[in-house]
Amino acid sequence: MECVFGLVGKGFAIVVADTSAVHGILVHKTNEEKIMKLDSHKLIAASGEGGDRVQFSEYIHKNVALYQFRNGIPLTTSAAANFTRAELAAALRKLVGVVFVQNPYAVNILLAGYDNHTGPSLYYIDYLATLHKVDKAAFGYASYLSLSMMDTHYHAGMSLQEAIDLVDKCITEIRSRLVVAPPNFVMKIVDQHGARECAWRQSLPSASPTFC
């Protein structure tokens, strides 16, 4: 029942993820951070199998950092998204000896970033290495409920308050219409000032949220 969605506004991109770490019917914790700061101006929101999610996000994070150390310049959001997609694609058809072995990462990703010349952008990358540059996107059961909400209310160049209001509308839909809706959500934003946490929406107060 993982919910990850995001949208691009005027000069910023916002991504929202639920914060439940679930194993079967057991909820391990309700303040799990699924949106990682990839570098100063990028966020990666990942949903999927627990081990793969963290493993893959960390792998991309370290490679993005290595690029910056090696070359003195950060990757653009587009380059980082394409690199991420390529890593997912490579794992789908790995040649081992004479046969192709599938070892896919079961992770869906929304990559949001801000570049100085091109502004904010959002990339949809699914576990089969589909890549789309989009204005709004959602993964998981959330997509059934939030995409139509966003289709109705989204317009290009939304202000931060308008975007947060739309996010709240989506969260309300998820809470009211999804049979096992996650109780808590975190919103993170990236704009010219960088990537940072924006707000939490908690219907179940948990221990103080962990910060990256």
């Binding site: 310049i73 587009s78 690199f83 390529a86």
Partner: protein, 250 residues
């Protein structure tokens, strides 16, 4: 005494020198020269052609200049067959980057990657180094127009103006005197041709003996690499006074 340490390419001499690398640079010192100049609005490359026989079938291919990717080109000096291998390697590296990142490879990263390859041949494998020096000219959105020079050791540097091949020291000293930071592309062409005419053996330049290429931005903002046609080159040579005009046009 040093002869004892020549045959193995990947060991130091007692004085701390790598003889094979130095000998490779000697080989390049006998090859046709090439000069590169960085200007505000482009990079200019000129090269001295060594193969000037009338029997040579002229085609559209060049002897000294090669395009690595849409935004990077190079001039070579040294053993041509070695150069071909490295040019192909550079082309593959550039495409591999674009395949991964869907963006043109930053010029310095391309140069660095190729130089890492060259360095490998000075440290392991027991193979001789490549007998080629390069002048790389390119443009990318991070740092604009750039010029890099690399040699068989795998060292490279970013330059405002540089020369490789025969008489490169003489060429470099003239460039040091005459180069100015705000030089335009047209002035750079003139300077490059002037320096080449001073350092080449022949008395006058013709389009048969030299090549000229430029990396610049078109009005629409796209990077362009253009090799000057022989006709246009001849006109330039006459204009800058580095050649005698053909007697039958007098």
């Amino acid at each position: 005494m040093s002869r004892r340490y020549d045959s193995r390419t990947t060991i130091f001499s007692p004085e701390g020198r790598l003889y094979q690398v130095e000998y490779a640079m000697e080989a390049i010192g006998n090859a046709g020269s090439a000069i590169g100049i960085l200007s505000k609005d482009g990079v200019v490359l000129v090269g001295e052609k060594k193969v000037t026989s009338k029997l040579l079938q002229t085609s559209s291919s060049t002897e000294k200049m090669y395009k690595i990717d849409d935004h990077v080109a190079c001039a070579v000096a040294g053993i041509m067959s070695d150069a071909n291998i490295l040019i192909n390697t550079a082309r593959v590296q550039a495409q591999r980057y674009t395949y991964a990142y869907q963006e043109p490879m930053p010029v310095e990263q391309l140069v660095q990657s190729l130089c890492d390859t060259k360095q490998g041949y000075t440290q392991f494998g027991g193979l001789r180094p490549f007998g080629v020096s390069f002048l790389f000219a390119g443009w990318e959105k991070n740092f604009g127009f750039q010029l890099y020079m690399s040699d068989p050791s795998g060292n490279y540097g970013g330059w405002k103006a540089g020369a490789i091949g025969a008489n490169n020291q003489a060429a470099q000293s003239i460039l040091k005197q005459d180069y100015k930071d705000d030089i335009t592309r047209e002035e750079a062409v003139q300077l490059a041709l002037k320096v080449l005419s001073k350092t080449m053996d022949s008395t006058s330049l013709t389009s048969e003996k030299i090549e000229l290429a430029e990396v610049f931005l078109s009005p629409s903002g796209k990077v362009k690499y253009e090799v000057c046609s022989p006709e246009a080159l001849n006109k330039l040579l006459v204009k800058f006074g580095v050649t005698q005009p053909a007697t039958d046009t007098a």
